[in-house]
């Protein structure tokens, strides 16, 4: 199977799928090595980057999705009038950024930063599937730990958590925890 053919097949699969899928899923279905699929996705992406193409490959959390190019948004909105993008409220955004940088994090820890009750903001983020429960902290009361979802990455156009904007540095070292720095004092869900 030549490269162009494979890129075409993958394009067709992504079109029909609509939702984000992993290269692994495509490879399994086509009975091809994952590398070949990843390579073909790269070809397809390069192809889309040329002018005269309206689509782009969107990647987040190891998944791939077909999406329109951002620069064509004004034209799309002219045809499809009622595209209503609901952006998050200030309190939801604050809460979400704390969760994004400090995950896994408990409600109490979030509230300690914001200085205000955040239960409602967290619940609304959970219902919008931006945030999910990732486990329980191994401490008194076993509080729920929250973390971000792939939906969150997609909503903010991030490939993964490393694409988050850098924290402005203050005099004190920030308390940012990267995923590999996670300590043992939390337990993952079974």
């Amino acid at each position: 199977m030549n490269d162009k053919l494979l890129a075409g097949i993958i394009e067709a699969i992504l079109f029909v799928s609509g939702e984000a899928i992993t290269p692994d899923e495509i490879a399994l279905a086509l009975d091809l090595p994952e590398d070949a699929v990843i390579h073909a996705l790269g070809d397809l992406e390069a192809c889309y980057q040329e002018t005269g193409r309206g689509l782009s490959i969107k990647r987040f959390g190891g998944k791939t999705q077909l999406a329109t190019k951002a620069e064509y948004a004004p034209y799309i909105e002219r045809v499809l009038q009622p595209i209503q993008r609901r952006s998050l409220s200030q309190s939801a955004l604050e809460t979400l950024s704390i969760i994004a940088y400090k995950q896994p994090v408990t409600r109490m820890e979030i509230e300690a930063v914001r200085g205000v009750g955040s239960d409602y903001a967290i619940q609304s983020l959970v219902s919008k599937r931006m945030v999910r429960e990732v486990g329980r902290k191994d401490t008194l009361g076993k509080p729920i730990l929250y973390g971000t979802t792939d939906q969150f990455l997609s909503h903010f156009g991030l490939g993964d958590l490393r694409d988050l904007p850098e924290i402005p540095t203050g005099d004190k070292q920030t308390t940012f925890l990267s995923n590999d720095q996670l300590s043992d004092d939390y337990i993952l869900p079974e």
């Binding site: 329109t68 948004a73 200085g115 909503h155």
Partner: protein, 245 residues
């Protein structure tokens, strides 16, 4: 400072309000305690009048913290306490941390807006085709033979397929079976199979079984079965009395 009326509901909490006041006073977070900001804060909370309790508590709590800090500043400080992190330092640290995340959330808003310009579509829906049944190896002869077999079985069972059929009266009732069981000797093991007539119908088996369950529920009998499908052993009487003996 100007007497601009500030609505607390505009702020995301006490830290947000403090940062707003710090920004308006054009000072650094570090200098909050040598500025008028804390006094302003306390005044704003005091003058805000009626507040929603949920919303107000965090603002009032902060006002209390600020007042505490103020009152402590008027007292002489014991030297051996200097090592400890002062409430001032704690609050400054909290404000700085919050300011960082507020800044981040503004940047995230830009990301959100940018990402929202790219659209994707929902998955295609494919209605599943009607399932087809493939019937192979069926001949007309086979069909006729199958029909004859069924008819013969109906005749053998004496169940004539008369239109309308016949509905038999109930021959067994749960209450009658319960009475039958209770007439058996008490406190000695009885086999469930022995409660049934020699060629019991399905109807009879089910009714006797239900009668047994009802007696157990009423505490008038108890049963034991060590393994599945084994014959059930039934005792008439209360379990405690029986186990005692």
């Amino acid at each position: 400072m100007s007497a601009v009326h500030i609505h607390l509901s505009r702020f995301e909490g006490p830290l947000d309000l403090l940062l707003h006041l710090i920004g308006r006073a054009k000072i650094d977070i570090q200098d909050i305690f040598v500025s008028e900001v804390t006094d302003q804060y306390i005044r704003i909370v005091r003058e805000s009048g009626e507040m929603d309790m949920d919303e107000a508590s965090s603002f009032v709590n902060m006002a209390a913290t600020l007042l505490e800090i103020k009152s402590r500043a008027m007292l002489p400080v014991l030297t051996d306490n200097l090592e400890e992190e002062t409430p001032e330092a704690q609050l400054i640290q909290q404000l700085e941390e919050y300011a960082r995340f507020r800044q981040i959330s503004l940047e995230m808003q830009v990301y959100e807006e940018e990402a929202g310009k790219s659209f994707s579509k929902l998955p295609e829906e494919f209605p599943l085709p009607q399932p087809e049944f493939e019937i192979s190896g069926l001949t007309l002869e086979g069909l006729i033979r199958a029909f004859i077999n069924v008819s013969r079985r109906v005749l053998e069972d004496g169940l004539e397929a008369e239109p309308g059929g016949q509905i038999e009266a109930e021959r067994f009732s749960v209450s009658a079976c319960m009475a039958m069981i209770l007439k058996k000797p008490r406190k000695i093991p009885l086999k469930f199979s022995a409660l049934l007539s020699p060629r019991a119908s399905r109807d009879e088996v089910i009714t006797v079984f239900l009668a047994m369950l009802e007696l157990m529920k009423q505490g008038k009998a108890w049963a034991q079965q060590d393994t599945s499908y084994e014959d059930i052993t039934l005792y008439i009487g209360r379990r405690k009395e029986i186990e005692h003996e």
